[in-house]
Amino acid sequence: MAGEGEGVVFDIQHYAVTDGPGIRTLVFLKGCPLRCAWCCNPESQRRGPDLRHSAPRCRGCFACQAACPGGGVSREGGRPVFDRARCCPADPWACVEACPQGALSRVGEAMSADRVMARVAADKPFYDNSGGGVTFSGGEPFAQASFLRGLLERSRSLGIHAAVETCGCADASDVAASAEQVDLFLFDLKSADPACHEALTGASNDRILRNLRFLSANYPDRLLVRVPLVPGFTDSPENLSGIAGLLVELRVTRVELMPYHELGRDKYKGLARPYPIPTPRPADLAASAARAVSVFRSRGIDSTVGGV
């Protein structure tokens, strides 16, 4: 786990261009209070590090089994199976070290804010020339609220445009404390209806709606609401109408629609978790996006299809 002043980061991606303006660096923070079935970063959900196994790279040599001090690796059809509950706390990554093929990896690294920002700041000339900056994503960045605050403070003092991609499920005090240092909130809204939201994500949208109200009232120019269009989950006309109604009430006039993709599908296999969503037909996705655009337009909300 992370030490004093450190956060858990599971990826840093340079030349990111879809989460905010210009050329950006995306910093992915680990941990999320929601459990959306369609999450494309399932490895982001737990706060602590995860063990990931890549089946295509594995040659079934069982060096991992020999290395595991806790006996957490068993055989099944010539391939290793990992009992993640038995990962030995004394030497939890012995299997990763021992794997000659690089099939095992550890997801999530403890990093200091300074180390993260050194990576981010290295691309400052790219941000300056493109109007870009850094985007803190996740997971839910506010799940590591004090670490995030440190990152935002450093971004501000380095003169780097900072965006936060959030699901909004955060303590109001944390959001309020950081808001001044955030140049852009990419606010991911799944549903306006509490029961529906709980069914979709495993959590109530109480805090989410409170934070959305706070930001739309106080920082309307720094807020971009984004709605994922997950077939069979969030893209029903009722759900979208509910969101549109809320946005009208909050005087939010523009929304970005995020068509579904299944880039995360393989990750579930690596984490030994099932993936619950059947592959949709491209035509259905296009139809869903067109429907969504018209729902928002009918309520006077300008919508763009983005995120890809």
Binding site: F10, Q13, H14, G22, C99, Q101, P125, N129, V308
Partner: protein, 832 residues
């Protein structure tokens, strides 16, 4: 685990797909795509006929006489639909086999062909025109030559005779007579070829990397130039050697120009003949226009834009015919043609686009046949580089309507030739730069972007010319080597030094681990510093001997195949009375020493330093055993080797090694003078050398397995080792002092989604600007997605016009070798 290596999304169509602007140019492109590759011996036939009867003439005069004689006898061919007159061969896609440069390799090829009619050529592509050639060969009783070219049985017999004539007379034979019995390191060079330390012998030593003075050619017209030559001849009295020899050059120049005028006139007559029998009145008018243009240019300055293009094409083509060129380039075409576009007044922008489309089909129809080794290296690409934008003499942005028209023409056509490049400066117009980004997004692999500031600094230091001259003449001789248009020596193409093989030889104590040949004495390797010093000493010896060898080759070039026609259009050959081979050009520091694979050296040294001397997880001997086993049974050690930080991640430790080696290479190269008495210019390119060079190399300490390709480009990271994204690649590359070398190459590959829309174009331009502020020198982009490429491998026929950028040039994807296709795929996927 990163997000990046999980991104293998489904098919994403390319955002920009152009279409020919007219049914005519669409038909021209289609005709090109469906034509087989032919060898045409006609030029060689006439050249040889002349050579048989010119024994005794002075070298330059004889060369000019033979070339001019050929021009006066070549069949003038105007294919249906053609409006621009003049082809290099009688065929749509044809190559001239220059046996006068090197006959031996062709003879060997013919003999091999006879022995094994069913030969399978492993490392050339099999799709597209090549597949067509093989099909036609079977149906029509033609012979496949050099893997992909067709030749009729009759022509093959004649070709054999012609090669026999040249076997002892060609440049290669003259060179071998010279260096084999006088160069003390001759045996070393031959060993170097055997182990793959150098590109194969100079068969048939290509010319190239030259841009002629088209501005003067168009503005003055050949008649005025001829008059100037006449004046020089009549006003000259030979008094003292060597100045007295100027007379020979001027006489030769006069002969070459007269041949050129005859060539144009023969095309005028042919166009008139065709017009007289043409039924279609519209086509008849076209042919009469063509005839009128051929009567007018290149003798006189053009009257219309179309005549200006015809005049350019004649001069360009006749220079191209004279030598076995690679990297012979059109240069600043937008600058050369813009005044004629403005003057014409009657021609619209759209019409100009269509005319450029015609021209670019013409340029792509020129094929290149050489020994298999060179063909394999170039993948048939001629490296005709057209530069756009840049600055004028006063330092004002030079992009104009023709820059846009040329970009639009290639967006529409996506021909492999000419490859387009942008001389980048911050002051260029937004419309032009956005159009350039749009062209890059077609996935065609061009334009490449070059930083003019960096080159100006290099050329100022190299030649001492004023900035205004460098700015207004800056062009590109071939893929990534800048040169001054109409002012610089065209290079007798130097081969490459394989840095990868030097890793093999250094770790092998001077012995080549693949062949067992000894090239260097053993040197101590007990500390890391020893290992690096040993590589450097070996590199020094390999480079110096290679340079010295090339000076013998250039000397033999002077005595056998000096370029006379081309010299007329290079300043200040006429003024000095010297051809380029005698130092007539204003700048004679263009010959470069080429090498590739330095990234693998830096990565390997970084791994050795970490694993053997710093962390001490393995001894050097144990590491060498793992390499000898090609990493088999050493997976865990290989994983550790791969994990050591590599070049291209902005890692100071790895980058420091690369920068140190780069610096030493530049310094060392300049320590040797070329044949013209100027220091060799350091350069690094790649073209396709990473594939053949990698093929001959054993496993490397950086984790690369035996036979795998080396890193492509010059500062491009080794595939799969750039784990910190494109900006880190650029930060590493930006640490290099690019002004020290003539050339340099950074390939970046992007998935189309990274460049989507106007925002994507703006980001791309911001990335270029950031790199050039560092200052970088060159960057080019592959916009591909892996699904598309994989599908192209499975179904080449569906991707006939798919073009991909590889190491400094474009070639049709389906005509590239599988090994090279795999390299591109591998880069795309970033997966070890």
């Amino acid at each position: 685990m990163t997000i990046a290596d999980l991104q293998t999304p489904a098919f994403v169509p390319r955002e920009v797909r152009g279409l020919p602007s007219s049914p005519g140019t669409a038909a021209l492109k289609q005709r090109y795509l469906s034509s087989p590759l032919m060898v045409d011996v006609e030029y060689l036939r006439h050249l040889t006929a002349s050579h048989r009867r010119t024994d005794g003439l002075e070298t330059l005069e004889r060369r000019a006489e033979d070339h001019a004689f050929a021009l006066e006898h070549l069949t003038p061919v105007i294919h249906p639909m053609d409006r621009l007159a003049g082809n290099k061969t009688r065929f749509i896609r044809g190559a001239v086999p220059y046996a006068n440069y090197a006959a031996g390799p062709f003879l060997r090829e013919i003999r091999r062909q006879e022995q094994d009619a069913q030969q399978k050529v492993a490392e050339q592509g099999t799709g597209g025109g090549i597949a067509l050639a093989r099909e036609r060969a079977e149906q029509e009783g033609l012979t496949v030559l050099s893997g992909k070219f067709l030749i009729s049985a009759e022509d093959l017999e004649e070709f054999k005779d012609l090669c026999g004539y040249w076997e002892d007379r060609c440049m290669m034979a003259a060179g071998e007579r010279l260096w084999k019995s006088s160069f003390v390191h001759g045996a070393f060079i031959e060993s170097g070829w055997t182990v793959g330390l150098y590109t194969a012998p100079h068969d048939p030593c290509p010319e190239g990397r030259i841009v002629l003075d088209f501005e003067t050619a168009l503005a003055r017209g050949n008649e005025a130039i001829l008059a100037e030559i006449e004046e020089r001849i009549s006003g000259f009295q030979p008094r003292a050697i060597p100045e007295a020899r100027s007379l020979y050059f001027w006489r030769a120049a006069r002969r070459a120009l007269k041949g050129a005028l005859a060539f144009a006139e023969r095309h005028a007559r042919e166009a008139e003949r065709l017009a007289s029998v043409e039924k279609d009145p519209a086509r008849r008018i076209e042919l009469l226009e063509t005839a009128a243009a051929c009567r007018r240019v290149p003798r006189h300055p053009p009257r219309t834009f179309r005549e200006a293009v015809q005049s350019f094409w004649f001069t360009y083509l006749l220079g191209h015919l004279e030598g076995a060129h690679l990297g012979y380039s059109p240069g600043r075409l937008d600058q050369v043609l813009h005044p004629w576009f403005v003057r014409d007044g009657g021609v619209s922008f759209d019409e100009a686009v269509t005319i450029f489309e015609e021209l670019f089909v013409k340029m792509t129809q020129i094929e290149y046949i050489a020994s298999m080794s060179w063909q394999g290296l170039g993948h048939g690409n001629l490296f005709q580089n057209c530069m756009l934008g840049g600055l004028d003499a006063e330092g004002r942005p030079a992009d104009n309507e023709m820059s846009l028209a040329i970009l639009q023409a290639q967006i529409n056509m996506q021909m492999t030739q000419p490859t387009l490049s942008v001389w980048y400066d911050d002051s260029l117009s937004d419309a032009f730069l956005m159009k350039a980004a749009e062209c890059a997004k077609t996935g065609v692999g061009y334009p490449a972007f070059f930083n003019l500031k960096t080159y100006v600094r290099h050329e100022r230091e190299a030649s001492g010319l004023p900035e205004s001259v460098i700015r207004s003449h800056a062009a590109m001789g071939g893929c990534t080597e800048p040169t001054l248009q109409g002012m610089s020596y065209g290079v007798v193409q130097a081969g490459f030094v394989n840095h990868g093989k030097l890793i093999d030889l250094t770790l092998g104590d001077g012995l080549d681990p693949v062949t067992g040949l000894r090239l260097f004495p053993p040197r101590p390797l007990s500390t890391y510093e020893d290992v690096e010093a040993s590589y450097v000493e070996n590199m020094h010896a390999a480079v110096r001997r290679w340079q010295q060898y090339w000076n013998y080759v250039m000397l033999a070039h002077r005595e056998t195949v000096p370029l006379v026609f081309c010299s007329v259009f290079v300043q200040d050959c006429l003024g000095r009375g010297l051809c380029m081979d005698d130092g007539g050009a204003v700048v004679n520091r263009t010959p470069t020493t080429l090498s590739s694979g330095l990234v693998n050296v830096a990565n390997s040294l970084a791994a050795i330093r970490r694993l053997c001397y710093h962390d001490r997880v393995v001894t050097l001997d144990e590491l060498r055993r793992a390499l000898a086993d090609n990493w088999k049974g050493h997976d865990l050690l290989r994983k550790k080797a791969l994990a050591v930080a590599k070049w291209g991640n902005d890692d100071d430790e790895a980058d420091a090694i690369f920068l140190r080696l780069f610096d030493d290479y530049c310094r060392w190269v300049a320590g040797q003078d070329n044949y013209l008495g100027c220091p060799y210019d350091p350069s690094m390119l790649a073209i396709s050398t990473p594939v053949p060079f990698g093929k001959v190399c054993a496993a490397f300490p950086d984790g690369r397995r035996a036979g795998e390709p080396l890193a492509d480009g010059v500062t491009s990271p080794f595939p799969g080792t750039d784990t910190h994204g494109p900006t880190a690649v650029i930060r590493s590359s930006g640490k290099v002092d690019h002004a020290r070398i003539r050339g340099g190459l950074l390939n970046l590959k992007f998935h189309p989604t990274a460049l989507k829309g106007e925002k994507g174009s703006r980001n791309l331009l911001a990335l270029i600007k950031t790199y050039f502020d560092m200052p970088g020198f060159h960057v080019q982009f592959n916009v591909v997605d892996s699904e598309m490429l994989r599908d192209a491998q499975a179904h080449p026929d569906r991707y006939r016009d798919l073009v991909v950028r590889v190491a400094g040039f474009s070639a049709y994807w389906v005509e590239m070798s599988r090994a090279l296709q795999d390299q591109v795929l591998w880069r795309t996927e970033h997966g070890w």
